[in-house]
């Protein structure tokens, strides 16, 4: 299952026409202790680069952006009870939402794991 990354530090796992989205380990490290996550409602229409979710650390609220166009099929309900999952397992159990892919060609502009690592090393 290919995983892509955005310059805004979201990851997206693509499985056929559905994708899972979260924030990267680098992002959670920058944010620090996460105390609240607001995931989008099922059925919400997202557009690439637009607001999709909000993650709140002790210090501040940060927006999470949609990596591609699509419709939300499921939010991660576990994050309501245990937002710290985003700190402990950001690229696994701490996923934010699942969505359909309206335009798979949008994935071409995203980074793969190697390119994303190089991107973070330059920050």
């Amino acid at each position: 299952m290919p995983r892509y990354y955005t310059e805004e530090h979201e990851w997206i796992d693509v499985d056929g026409d559905v994708a899972t989205v979260g924030i990267t380990d680098f992002a959670q490290g920058q944010l620090g202790d996460i105390v609240f996550v607001e995931v989008p409602d099922t059925g919400a229409e997202l557009s690439q680069g637009g607001d999709a979710a909000v993650v709140e650390s002790v210090k501040a609220a940060s927006d999470v952006y949609a990596p591609v166009d699509g419709v939300v099929t499921e939010g991660n309900g576990q994050l309501e009870e245990d937002p710290a999952l985003v700190n402990s397992d950001p690229e696994g159990e701490g996923w934010f939402f699942r969505m359909t892919l309206s335009d798979k060609s949008q994935l071409d502009a995203l980074m793969n794991a190697t390119a994303y690592k190089a991107f973070c090393d330059d920050l």
Binding site: V35, F36, E38, E56, A60, E80, P83
Partner: protein, 380 residues
């Protein structure tokens, strides 16, 4: 265009504190604050916050302004200060300090500050973000025979938490006999240092003024002890919020007077009776009759943090604004402080905050959110 020309046209460049390299070596994540590069956190705000409540944390607050005032007599300096602040400075004995407020002509708060009678001179510690404005205000309004010195050769550290006294006593044994809001002059490794039993976390603790060149070794000596860790600005903010202590520029500003800010305790009894401080008519009127609005604490229902700028509502009616807020690690829930009308200020009053278009239920509550642990009497 050269860098210096650029700097001249823009805001002053961000300055570094004497311990800048020390913070970076300790893993501090540096951010710009009050014109300085300062550590926002080391290992993480939550862990640092909880560490201070259980152990002892070392904060670098060298961005704050350390001022010294002296004149022909201490009484002359006290009288001059009393024309600018509402505290009873004349009654402040040598070796004692007091929280006070620098007031504008209309009674609005220009800054909150600590005034210490150091015997022969007064020390004032002011907020970093407004220190240059404070200095200009003091120079303009103090009589010419009062001398004001901004001591930039000294830094300021705060050691806070229940184990602070044990840690600091290994370096300066006489601190064990001090009480809250007492100040002493001491020496450490031949360096002159000033120590007060005070702070801004709600915990017992100390603030230590010391020469810039001694700071690194002093910080190392403390952080070499198992109960002491360096703590960043992030935890300093969450600690003071839980302690119900206002932060200048957020919870206090020139539009707000001391009674609105629920800082009536800073208007000493004699000053209430005599007046003679800026904005006395407005402030004493509010003291007697109540102010139209008041700073209150808010317990937030649920987990969504309510932060500075969130509007407060009673039903559909907008009634106020949150001035500080966030997740409170020791409470385990979000808390906030803000301004509401007098008739909404009683503890238990239910109101709502608006966060991203959603209404969040809040209950007005007495502050502090976490009890203060000041050591007011020795042997008590």
């Amino acid at each position: 265009m050269t860098e210096s020309e650029q700097a001249g046209e823009e805001a002053a460049p961000t300055a570094t504190l004497p311990l800048d390299a020390w913070h970076r070596a300790k893993g501090g994540r540096m951010v710009e604050f009050a014109g300085y590069w300062m550590p926002i956190q080391y290992e993480g705000i939550m862990a640092e916050h909880l560490w201070v409540r259980e152990n002892a944390g070392l904060f670098d607050v060298s961005h704050m302004g350390q001022l010294m005032l002296w004149g022909d007599t201490d009484q002359a300096v006290a009288d001059a200060l009393e024309a600018l602040v509402p505290g009873d400075i004349s009654a402040l004995k040598a070796g004692r300090m007091r929280y006070s407020l620098l007031l504008a002509e209309d009674g609005g708060i220009l800054d909150d500050l600590m005034i210490t009678n150091e015997g022969g001179r007064f020390g004032i510690v002011v907020n970093g973000a407004v220190k240059w404005d404070d200095i200009a205000h003091l120079r303009e309004h103090l009589p010419d025979d009062i001398t004001l010195n901004h001591n930039e050769d000294f830094g300021l550290l705060a050691l806070q938490g229940p184990k602070a006294v044990d840690a600091l006593a290994r370096l300066v044994p006489e601190v064990t006999g001090m009480v809250f809001m007492q100040a002493i002059a001491a020496t450490w490794n031949d360096h002159p240092i000033g120590i007060s039993r005070s702070g801004y976390t709600g915990e017992d603790g100390f603030e230590i003024s010391l020469p810039n060149e001694a700071m690194g070794a002093f910080a190392d000596a403390l952080c070499g002890m198992e109960e002491v860790k360096p703590i960043g600005l992030g935890a300093r903010d969450s600690l003071r919020l839980e302690a119900g202590l206002p932060l200048y520029g957020h919870d206090l500003d020139p539009d707000i007077d001391p009674i609105e800010a629920d800082l009536g305790f800073a208007i000493s009894k004699r000053r209430r009776e005599e007046g003679g401080f800026p904005g006395a008519a407005r402030i004493l009127g509010h003291y007697t009759d109540g102010s139209p609005r008041k700073r209150v604490g808010l317990l937030v229902d649920g987990k969504l943090p309510v932060r500075e700028g969130a509007k407060l509502f009673d039903g559909e009616r907008e009634i106020g604004v949150v001035t500080s807020g966030g997740f409170a690690p020791s409470v385990g829930a979000p808390i906030a402080m803000g301004y509401v009308p007098r008739d909404h200020a009683a503890p238990g009053t239910a109101i709502a905050a608006e966060v991203r278009g959603k209404r969040v239920l809040c209950t007005v509550t007495a502050m502090p959110f976490v009890p203060h642990k000041y050591v007011r009497k020795q042997g008590g």
